[in-house]
Symmetry: C2
């Protein structure tokens, strides 16, 4: 069993992930927001690496069917209907819509995972469901890659701790010695030793959480650390994040 | 006091480091090898991002005065006089020479630090001297950046632990709460909690150490974890790593 953690998408090469299962994490806030959007009835999320690309992609879709969402410097992009808050993704707003989304870190990470199969979207809010889905892929394919979005091209504590929690859940302690872990997976597990199962403590200690609180977005941090609100696991394929039909 | 750790050079932008003090670390093996080369009388090390660039740079220098050194996949580059082993850097071999050097991770990290001032070269083998020099720059300039080379564009345990040791030495525990640490600095300090002051244990646990041992380079790992063999701190400026004249 091989488990590879990336702390940012920068080091990822298409070759390293092609055809392999990848779990993308951006606790604050992109993957949390994507989970909320799809749980509340959005048809799909179309991640874009930049605001310009989001505008271009939205231009190709029917106007009534699309919502632009995104953030730069933690704030809603001017002219976009929505920011990057999970709390904005109410069913009244998003039901039936395709959300074209551009965020500083998270949407780029999802797009970087494109060559992988499957690309699973993980957050605290769908943690147990994501573990279960990742476990199935891990057993099928013999390996798992956890891709953290990081923050402004750097290591982010909240994502690294989440990666550690996924690693812990996917590989029980007694199997960890024989598993092939990269150094980042090992360090992520160290953060779990530090914080145990305290999502709120670990996430609140991060630079991102402090920055969000500093601009009045404390409620987003709280929402992003509510465990297992949803039992869905969105997947990215063919440029869209959707809920796969498991019927 | 602001301390920023980068786990790889990928996230570094010239703007983020211009004019600021940077300590570059590649325990296995580039900065260790550079320290050995200069301690044993090399005139300078000229780091190159690629083997091709190393050849080009060496072509501009007088043939007798230059040695090519470098590695790809842990092995000496074909046609180069030296690999990337600190044990090769004997005074017989390197005294008076300029060493043009290309390694997979480390020389790229040194080159990426170019806009910084000063750029200090840190290793286990010059740890205390590097701490002292970094402390002086930290006090002068009010901040410090620790740049880990990482391994193949990814987080490397040995460099992250070393970054944690530098962070611990630069900011005593009682000042750590009021210091401005980024998430990576915080995670590096967690690794120090795990390994204490056991350089050999921490470095040996890394993917890089295991890979080097696997290709018969165990002696290099041992040499790279000998603490304070040297009291020099090489600096990179004007494209050359040299020992600054502190007379």
């Amino acid at each position: 069993m091989k488990l590879t953690v990336y702390f940012t998408p920068l080091g990822v090469t298409p070759n390293a992930i092609a055809g392999k299962p990848v779990l993308v994490i951006d606790v604050l806030r992109t993957t949390t927001t994507i989970v909320s959007a799809l749980a509340n009835g959005a048809k799909a999320v179309l991640p874009a690496p930049t605001a310009e690309e989001a505008l271009r992609l939205a231009g190709n879709l029917e106007r009534d069917a699309v919502l632009l969402a995104g953030e730069r410097g933690m704030q809603r992009i001017e002219g976009f209907a929505l920011g990057n808050s999970p709390l904005e993704m109410t069913s009244e707003t998003v039901s039936g819509k395709t959300i074209v989304m551009a965020t500083t870190n998270g949407t780029g990470a999802v797009v970087a995972a494109e060559p992988a199969r499957p690309v699973l979207i993980g957050a605290v809010t769908n943690f147990s469901a994501a573990v279960q889905r990742a476990q199935a892929a891990f057993e099928d394919q013999g390996e798992m890659i956890v891709l953290c979005s990081g923050r402004e091209r750097m290591f982010a504590l909240e994502d690294a701790y989440a990666a550690g929690r996924f690693a812990q859940a996917l590989i029980p302690g007694r199997q960890r010695r024989s598993a092939e872990l990269n150094d980042a997976a090992f360090a992520a597990l160290e953060l779990v030793r530090r914080y145990g199962d305290k999502w709120k403590r670990a996430v609140s200690a991060s630079n991102a959480a402090r920055a969000l609180k500093g601009v009045g977005l404390k409620a987003d941090v709280a929402a992003a650390t509510e465990v297992d609100c949803y039992s869905i696991v969105p997947e990215y394929a063919g440029r869209l994040v959707t809920l796969p039909d498991r019927g």
